[in-house]
Symmetry: C2
Subunit: 453 residues, 2 copies
């Protein structure tokens, strides 16, 4: 129900917009679009087929262009940038925060990058170059160098006067950072603390030095984990010498968490979260065909196992009728184990110390499920083909295949992770290959041994 | 690579802890555990098998107990609560924030709930009862009623004096809310604005009245969408009469986003995100067997189609060898379409206005992929069984099945959503049923028509 309410809102906007577009009245479309936040506009653009997408993009307020570009996937961004001339792009991106700009800059044409750099003042240019010098998916790339710092040997009153002089604080500032003379990170002061203490209070009484700073080389995923484990809204980023370089805010972390989730869901189907839902057909084909071809190879391997038993099948055609059940149900059981493992690995909950307990548990679950469902499947097979031995064969093969599924479901993702491969991407392919191949082998093998003797 | 670093940290803690536990030295375990945040302790407890889990739970500082309980899944929570006596539970939960307590309270034994309510002062008890009066998964249930409000007809100076008198602000306060005499929500004031403006500035000059308040009945998913679309850190919650009831903070929203993602990943395998990785075997079997049984039924339906073609297979055993390829690859192609649709629906990007364009695109992708991979599969089949007509049959059947996969992948999740069912849960089952059944039918049907004539 809740799910339903949720899409309904976005889907309603989409429908309204689509109707207005179809009617050709662009005035209402423009008004509708410009009541939305940049993220919402990005979402709408992603959901529009090319053609309509360009029309709506042309109606977005120029001042929102930059933020909208930040909020769409790489492929849609490319299509939007293709519609803009260099001047428009420069105007759109020059006012972005440094971290957002760093995120965009590599998708821009080289000539535009030069223009953007020229349009920035020296300080911002240096900051951008610094952020870009860190690897993608690290804290350095996520941070915003725009930070308000104070010194420890002062009072609330002095800080308040400084802040009033300074005017606006950077977006999402919840703490000021206290640094040493050499700009080393000492601790942080909550804005709330400044507001709730008397003007005469010395700053060093308000310092919270418990929050460890994030290392600039920390991975984005580890940053996300720390934020959600500690309920941080922002965190300081430092280099090896503890020099304060910038800060990361929760809004960027929310984006990482969403991206991770999308990546996990889509990579299991061999897809990329940055792809456009409306990619041109040849491009979509090119992307999908690789993963399908890998699955084709494993399908041929499984068939070649069936091929070894042609003589058996020729004698008992019922085997051909029943064999997909063993393979398919094994795959289903394995999918359950794999889903648990992929989550466990993503949360760091599975490792060398508990994998044996987990494997043993999964084997027992597989044996019990095999006993239960094997009995059902075996009885149906017996009744269908009037042969109790066939029931015995399929029941045993199913139980065996459940055990194969448990073993593969636990060990494949662990092994992939150890090889620095993505368990979500390759786990399913390996699992199906195993449960198909060994499912056919155990069923047809047992049948040959028991039924043909 | 980044992924690897991430688990490594948590997995390392897990290994250290596990080694210390195995050696029986509880002192180091206690020290190690109590350097962690409650969320990290929760994560560790989730990753420990029962037995070890109870030992470590006994070593957690009593003052962290409540927060740890908030940070674990329902089933693990139940196992932890089972280890505590009522007094311990009351002591653990009585200091929690109202929204966290509301989250826990339904898992507590009735006698404990009474004790907890008795231990609270009247104001907090009323607040808890109010929060509990809203449906689960609504804004009302997520909100914390502890909010700092100010009036519009005053100055920065007066507010500062009030805040100094008041002392600490509730956690994650980034705005004060401005309310009318009747406690109606008017707007918000950033803490940053109070710090950067002169004491004499009238409050009504600083009010930001652009942020719409969240309706108390709004669904949790819609709340999460609004937070991430607008980069909010917190938002006010109001009732139908615009009376301010509380506020929701980003840390709760991050939890919702994580839960949604886990739910999507696990429900596709018929699992629940609140299950314990180390559930007792009988319980795990009970849970998994239902989903497997549903898949068993669809597998039997697919086999019954194969059963219709026993006579054909008896004459051409090669068909039994090749038929899993058509069914399996069709399933894979459909999985890709389904993954895109489930994401599109979750983001509200797919609706009546663009489903036709999408379907037409997917059909074209399916036809092209069918042409490409159908040619490969057909050629291999021809070479393997020395029959060009067999190649033609399997190539055509594969293309047909890709189209079935595209149709089902687009339409099944849409239809499920319209029926208020979860597309992530049931989509895969329906998809496999279709691609297996129609894959076998088209392959064996075409073979009967073409090869046996």
């Amino acid at each position: 129900m809740a799910e339903a309410v949720r899409h309904d809102k976005t889907a309603r906007q989409l429908r309204l917009l689509s109707d207005a577009l179809d009617s050709g009245r662009l005035g209402p479309v423009r008004r509708l679009v410009n009541t939305l936040s940049p993220a919402e506009i990005g979402n709408l653009l992603e959901s529009l087929p090319p053609g309509k997408r360009e029309v709506v993009w042309g109606l977005v307020d120029a001042e929102d262009d930059g933020e909208v570009l930040v909020h769409v996937g790489d492929e849609v961004r490319e299509s939007l940038l293709a519609d803009m001339d260099p001047d428009e792009i420069v105007a759109a991106v020059e006012d972005l925060d440094i971290d957002d700009l760093a995120d965009l800059v590599e998708d821009l044409p080289d000539t535009v990058i030069d223009e953007v750099l020229k349009s920035m003042d020296r300080e911002n240019r240096e900051r951008l170059e610094q952020v870009l010098s860190y690897d993608e998916d690290t804290a350095g790339r996520l941070m915003n160098p725009d930070v308000v710092t104070v010194r420890a040997d002062t009072t609330v009153d002095v800080v308040l006067r400084y802040l009033r002089l300074r005017g606006e604080l950077p977006e999402h500032t919840d703490h000021l950072y206290v640094v040493s003379r050499r700009h080393q990170y000492i601790g942080r002061i909550a804005l709330a603390a400044l507001l709730t203490h008397e003007p005469g209070t010395p700053i060093n009484k308000l310092i919270d030095d418990e929050q460890a700073a994030i290392d600039v080389d920390e991975s984005a995923n580890e940053v996300a984990r720390q934020f959600s484990d500690h309920d941080w809204l922002s965190a300081p980023v430092v280099d090896d010498n503890n020099i304060l370089l910038g800060r990361i805010t929760i809004d960027d972390v929310v984006d990482i968490i969403r991206d991770q989730a999308e990546h996990q869901a889509l990579s299991a189907a061999g897809l990329d979260e940055d792809d456009d839902m409306f990619s041109p057909v040849p491009r979509a084909v090119r992307r999908r065909v690789v993963w399908l071809a890998v699955n084709m190879v494993t399908a041929f391997i499984a068939s070649s196992v069936v091929g070894q038993f042609e003589a058996t099948i020729e004698k008992i055609v019922a085997l051909a009728v029943l064999m997909p059940i063993v393979a398919g149900m094994g795959g289903n059981a394995g999918t359950q184990v794999l889903a648990l493992m992929v989550r466990g690995l993503a949360l760091g909950q599975v490792g060398a110390s508990n994998v044996r307990t987990l494997l043993w548990k999964e084997i027992r679950v597989a044996l019990l499920n095999g006993l239960l469902l094997g009995t059902v499947v075996g009885s149906v097979a017996w009744a269908w083909f009037h042969d109790p031995r066939l029931g015995l064969v399929i029941g045993s093969a199913l139980t065996l295949n459940f055990c194969v599924a448990a073993l593969t479901g636990v060990l494949a993702p662990l092994t992939l992770k150890r090889m620095n491969l993505d368990p979500a991407l390759a786990g399913g392919v390996i699992l199906t290959a195993m449960t198909d191949t060994l499912g056919f082998l155990s069923f047809l093998g047992l049948a040959t041994l028991i039924l043909l003797k």
